[in-house]
């Protein structure tokens, strides 16, 4: 079985990145948007790990960076959920278009 080349993995991560980006500007549901953000962050994680494994196998920099990203993504998610809950309390909706009072 031949090893998976790095380009394949990069293809997956890039696809994930753009799926996340697409989700951000098409979805209305706040939870879905949060998930899109997570997709973006995870695509970056895949990138880091793949680069580290294939290009710089002697070091661990990329893997550690992805650990930091995971941690911080968790913190962000916690804050995000809190914000969404708060918004749901006031708007009784998690549709992001309902939160359009601030404009112009």
């Amino acid at each position: 079985m031949s090893p998976v080349p790095v380009t394949h993995i990069l293809f997956v991560s890039t696809a994930l990145f753009f799926i996340g980006m697409y989700g951000l500007f098409t979805r209305r549901n706040m939870i879905t948007m949060l998930m899109s953000v997570e997709l973006i962050l995870n695509s970056v994680n895949i990138n880091f790990v793949a680069f580290n494994k294939y290009l710089y196998p002697g070091k661990l920099d990329g893997i550690f960076f992805s650990l930091f990203i995971i941690t911080i993504a968790a913190a962000e998610a916690a804050v995000a959920i809190a914000i969404i809950i708060n918004l749901y309390r006031s708007h009784h909706s998690i549709d992001v278009e309902d939160a359009g009072e601030l404009k112009y």
Binding site: N47, D61, F65, A75, S90, A99, L102
Partner: protein
């Protein structure tokens, strides 16, 4: 190093203060003491005295510029707390926590002024941003505050995604996160990394442009500044924005060459777009708070000149600009917090009822507009002079455009002055203490002093 550790510890300490006391003035006093301590330990760092010795493995690199900038930011925060401390504790239910978050933000700032690794850049930005998402939504019962918080979070995390994508591309090509280490290889020009590294850097720059709210990545700014509780808007618009610029300058200093010549056209376009959107859109605003949000975009356009030219003069300029802009903005927002009606009409006739507030507010506005004898004038002057010094007459058109937009800015700043002095009205205002007025007057005096002797501040920096 001292500042990073001490600010994080102060944040924790503030959280515990919230457990032990609910006395708001006590909380404020602790915050003030902690800030004073922060300034002192940061100054001690300059003299080589460390609280804890840490080997950073050259992930952080401390330079005079960064340390001085820390001092400036901490001093601005101290002014902010002295002036608006009461409003911080009154913004929501948990006074002490807000101060804790502010200290965490300062921790992020201290990292951003001295990072030497892209990892630290990322961590610094996140430590800066996440508390801000919370502060923006601090007024939990306020719809606007919630909405602003959500928008800030969504766009902020999106920009974080961009930043990380950029970092990973750069890492993939160079195998290191250090912003210093890769520089010689490129300037020697030996290995050609292809397109990926510059694109990665481009992504990082875009994320930073987002943080400093440069057009067309500015969309979060008006909504977030408008929706956030006014005190925190003040904090975000000044201290956080300045930190964004310093991190930008740091990275740009090291890596701009790799971007090639195109960067020299992208940045002026972005500067002009920022000046255009900020100044022009501010003209039609009805709310002073939202006008200030757009004006902060416009001011960011001016501060971007420091990124564009990047010489000694522009560094002096960004310090001066940070000081001038922060002092004036903190003052204006402090007054704005006390206003019941934050539209332009709300300021009608303020001069008759509260002459001190009106006069100091006028000085702040004049400084933002860049009228001579105020600090804002020299701040703008240094920026433009730096451009001319670096690029000669070829960049004169950029200077002319900037000056024209500065002229537009006079329009909306003077609308406030006009409302205060030349219109009749009954401005409603919550009670202001004598201390508050004194602090405002001192800020105004400071602005005029810097405006008269700009070199005094800068000499201190060299000293």
């Amino acid at each position: 190093m001292n500042a990073i550790i001490f600010s994080a510890l102060s944040g924790v300490a503030m959280m515990f203060t919230g457990i032990f006391t609910t006395n708001k003035s006590a909380i404020r006093n602790v915050a003030v003491i902690a800030l004073l301590g922060l300034i002192i330990v940061n100054l001690l760092h300059s003299y080589g005295i460390f609280v804890v010795r840490v080997n950073t493995h050259s992930m952080l690199q401390f330079e005079t510029f960064g340390l001085f900038f820390n001092t400036l930011v901490f001093a601005a925060t101290l002014l902010f707390v002295l002036l608006s401390g009461k409003d911080v504790t009154n913004a929501g239910t948990y006074g002490a926590e807000y101060f804790a978050l502010i200290f965490f933000v300062l921790c992020g700032v201290s990292i951003l002024t001295c990072y030497n690794s892209l990892l630290m850049l990322f961590i610094g930005i996140e430590i800066l941003s996440i508390p801000l998402y919370i502060l923006t939504g601090a007024d939990k019962r306020n719809l606007k505050s919630n909405e602003a918080s959500l928008k800030y979070f969504l766009m902020g995390s999106f920009s974080t995604g961009i930043l990380l994508m950029g970092i990973t591309l750069v890492y993939g090509i160079t195998g290191t996160f250090s912003i210093e280490a890769m520089r010689p290889a490129v300037s020697v020009g030996a290995p050609n990394y292809g397109i990926l590294e510059p694109v990665g850097l481009l992504f990082i720059f875009i994320a930073l442009l987002f943080k400093v709210s440069a057009a067309p990545f500015h969309f979060w700014t008006p909504d977030v500044y408008d929706g956030a509780p006014t005190v925190f808007t003040s904090f975000m618009a000044t201290i956080v924005k300045a930190a964004g610029f310093v991190s930008f300058i740091r990275l740009f200093d090291a890596r701009a060459i790799e971007m090639g010549i195109s960067w020299k056209i992208i940045l002026p376009v972005i500067i002009i777009a920022t000046l255009l959107i900020g100044n022009i859109t501010a003209v039609f605003q009805q709310s002073v708070k939202r006008m200030m949000a757009y004006s902060s975009i416009a001011q960011a356009g001016f501060m971007l000149f420091a990124v564009y030219v990047n010489n000694d003069m522009s560094k002096e300029g960004i310090l001066l600009y940070t000081a001038a802009y922060s002092i004036a903005t903190i003052g204006i927002f402090a007054i704005l917090t006390r206003m019941k009606d934050i539209t332009f009409d709300g300021f009608n006739g303020l001069a008759k009822k509260h002459p001190v507030l009106a006069a100091t507010n006028a000085v702040f506005l004049l400084s933002l507009a860049g009228i001579p004898l105020t600090a804002g004038f020299f701040a703008k002057y240094y920026m433009l002079a730096a451009v001319v010094k670096e690029n000669g007459a070829g960049a004169l058109w950029l200077v002319i455009v900037a000056v024209l937009f500065a002229a537009v800015s006079v329009y909306y700043y003077f609308r406030v002055i006009q409302a205060m002095y030349f219109k009749e009205g009954e401005p409603e205002i919550t009670e202001v203490s004598g201390g508050f007025k004194t602090a405002l007057v001192m800020l105004a005096v400071l602005i005029v002093l810097i405006g008269t002797f700009p070199s005094a501040l800068l000499n201190w920096f060299y000293f």
